[in-house]
């Protein structure tokens, strides 16, 4: 096996994992604290990408665009929470699924109205568009490194906030025991809004990071959100650590599956069957993993300690 290829693939897996983590982190907290299934979390991923793309073109600066887009996405998240999500927390899961399904339709159509159906190409500055040469055979696209760094930075920031601050203490407490937080006399409404909006902003960052690669498009969040749900279920609902590990596992399995499964299958079957079967099976891999984990360890790999 080509080691240069393997290293690149591992890096790609890491990148996908990081992006998934950014989505899953908010999702898992919102689910853990508010007991709210938010299928529309992926919409913030899309909204973030579109806002950022618009700003980047407008200001002609990628970094400035991203920095401005983050609070704006957070604001969108906040408004969504106050207008709609808030009144759903006490409803059952079925209502969550349906209402957030409706929110997805609304976000997608409004995006269509504002930005058109075609999607958006987000240009990268030259300094991010190059290559970093590690060795003769290994060259890494610098933007990928940037994504991974930003992702790890956000992850580290979240780790700091969640584990070292009073706010983080409340969030952790909320994820494991809701009544306890209320007993502490915290204004639970504000905490909920904050978590929701922050989750939206972090999902938005993921969208902003990926859009220079794939472009921004309507519905871009709807499929990845399902993968993010797979992540938080594997990791254990409500657990940031679980989301992180789960995201990396899913990112790696998906990327390595796509790259090496056909070679693996060729050991058992003829080339042509392997090449046609590989894409489908590699797409199924993460769902198979989730089904196995749910069947064996329904609470996920790292469930929050007390529930």
């Amino acid at each position: 096996m080509d080691s240069a290829l393997l290293i690149t693939q591992l890096l790609n897996g890491l990148q996908l994992g990081i992006l998934l983590f950014l989505l899953a982190a908010g999702l898992t907290l919102i689910f853990g604290i508010m007991d709210f299934i938010n299928l529309a979390h992926g919409s913030f991923y899309m909204v973030g990408a579109y806002i950022c793309g618009t700003l980047v073109v407008l200001l002609d600066s990628f970094v400035l665009g991203v920095l401005l887009a983050i609070p704006l996405t957070m604001a969108v998240g906040y408004v969504t929470e106050v207008l709609i999500a808030r009144s759903l927390y006490l409803r059952d899961h079925l209502d969550h699924v349906l209402a957030t399904f409706g929110i997805i339709l609304i976000f997608d159509t409004v995006t269509h109205l504002i930005w058109g159906a075609e999607g958006m190409v987000i240009p990268l500055p030259d300094w991010l568009n190059g290559q970093i040469t590690v060795s003769e055979t290994i060259q890494l696209p610098s933007y990928r490194i940037a994504i991974i760094s930003v992702g790890l930075l956000v992850a580290a920031g979240m780790y700091y906030v969640v584990s070292k601050t009073r706010l983080g203490m409340l969030i952790r407490a909320g994820a494991s025991n809701r009544t306890m937080v209320q007993a502490l006399g915290v204004d639970i409404k504000v905490l909920f809004s904050l978590v929701f909006a922050a989750g939206a902003a972090i999902a938005g960052v993921a969208g902003m990071m990926i859009s220079p690669i794939t472009g921004a498009s309507i519905g871009m969040g709807n499929d990845i959100i399902i993968v993010a749900f797979v992540v938080i279920i594997i990791g254990g609902i409500g657990s940031i650590k679980g989301a992180f590990v789960g995201a990396l596992i899913v990112g790696m399995i998906d990327t390595l599956g796509r790259s090496y499964l056909d070679q693996l299958l060729k050991l058992f079957m003829n080339t042509e069957t392997a090449e046609t079967a590989a894409p489908a099976i590699s797409a199924m891999l993460i769902y198979i993993l989730m089904a196995i984990i749910l069947a064996v360890r329904p609470q996920g790999l790292f469930p929050p300690k007390v529930r």
Binding site: L5, V121, I213, R258
Partner: protein, 400 residues
């Protein structure tokens, strides 16, 4: 009894809906054309360009065919076979159109074809050319103005032979056309295929090609051969550059770099596109009167070069007009209309044009290169002719 009831019911509605009353005046009734394309999802860029070509054709013919007005019913396929099929159903059962055209996607066309043909309506594909319909599945009422899917990749394989490319890595989306293309490569390309990848397509299109590009890079192939229509093309070329492949591998594409994707790539500074080559049956720089009128008017109206989607939609309208004109606007004799369609007596933007026995065109294929025009806009230019009067290999299976 039933008739009386029908009359009574219609009588009730006549006052409210006056248009029902005029429907019986057959001669002055408009020719109805249904147009199915993608107007939502990111693939709408293609659908809109195609519709621009379609609209331009209608404008050029003054909205008239055989002395009758043309009524157009545009339907969105949502980039999904099922939605497209429902749209086609609606066109033939509710609107009762005379012709159905459009269709970017092979899978959408394959889904819709039964509904349309079962209702004895003419179906003229303006882009999709699934091989299934060129061979055994050919039908007297089905026409393709474009190609059989594998013709362009066959031309590509031949072009690569001519260019002296020893080995390639192939990437294509995993759907009917992508599969047709993969199969076509082996028919003509004589070099080594170092590897191939088929990526997710449809509403859930895979747009991050990092894993595949890494494999391509590691394969050490001379060239990368890709097929990514519409938006995916932009994403593909940008990642091709980011992965640093532009310096080590030559890029060849089919159905990827066109009037839709090139302006966006230029905007995003994806210079890897410049100089890359691909095969096609048409190019905006083709030198014939019909094409020059089409391209210059399109440029004037929309500010971009037309894509082949627009060009083929334009040709489709011209083909329909030629048939309706030939029968003097009387569409009641289907055989006469069909015979007129087969004749294909219209000025194609491709210059010469004729149908083979399977109602797919017999035509020339060219190698084109991405260049900047006199005003600096990126477009394609013909480099050489690869095939002359090429007919798809499936035509022999068509018993018609």
């Amino acid at each position: 009894m039933k008739k009386a009831l029908k009359a009574a019911v219609y009588g009730l509605f006549l006052t409210a809906t006056p248009w029902l009353g005029t429907a019986s005046a057959a001669d002055s009734a408009p020719v109805k054309i249904g147009f199915v394309t993608t107007l939502t999802t990111p693939a709408a860029v293609i659908g809109n360009d195609m519709k621009n070509g379609f609209d331009l054709a209608l404008e050029h013919i003054g909205g008239e065919m055989g002395g009758r007005k043309v009524d157009v019913f545009v339907e969105d396929d949502g980039f999904k076979p099922e939605t497209g099929k429902q749209a086609a159903d609606k066109l033939v059962t509710q609107e009762k159109v005379d012709f159905v055209t459009g269709f970017i996607w092979s899978h959408v066309l394959l889904a819709s074809v039964k509904s349309v043909l079962d209702s004895d309506t003419f179906l003229i594909s303006a882009n999709a050319g699934p091989t299934q319909l060129a061979g055994k599945g050919c039908n007297k009422d089905f026409f393709s103005i474009s190609w059989a899917n594998d013709q362009i990749p066959m031309a590509m394989g031949e072009a690569l032979n001519q260019e002296g490319i020893k080995s390639v890595y192939i990437m294509a989306p995993n759907y009917a056309s992508g599969k047709d293309m993969m199969a076509a490569v082996e028919m003509t390309y004589k070099g080594e295929i170092k590897g191939r990848d088929m990526t997710k397509w449809g509403a859930d299109t895979q747009l991050d090609f990092s894993a595949e590009l890494s494999k391509a890079k590691a394969s050490g192939a001379d060239a990368l051969w890709a097929f990514y229509p519409g938006k995916a093309g932009g994403a593909f070329v940008s990642q091709f550059m980011q992965a640093g492949l532009a310096d080590t591998m030559k890029l060849y594409t089919v159905y990827t770099l066109d009037g839709i994707s090139l302006p966006k790539m230029q905007e995003a500074g994806l210079t890897a596109a410049l100089g890359s080559r691909g095969t096609q049956n048409w190019s905006p720089d083709m030198d014939n009167a019909a094409n020059q009128k089409f391209v210059s008017d399109f440029l004037a109206k929309h500010g971009t070069y037309p894509s082949f989607y627009a060009q083929q939609a334009y040709d489709a309208v011209m083909l329909i007009k030629s048939a309706v004109d030939a029968v003097g606007g009387d569409l009641s004799d289907k055989d006469a209309v069909r015979a007129a369609l087969v004749k294909a007596d219209f000025a194609s933007t491709r210059g010469k044009f004729k149908f083979g026995n399977n109602h797919f065109p017999i035509q020339d294929f060219y190698l084109r290169e991405v260049v900047a025009d006199s005003e600096g806009r990126w477009t394609t230019k013909i480099v050489s002719k690869i095939f002359t009067d090429h007919q798809d290999p499936h035509a022999v299976d068509c018993k018609m």
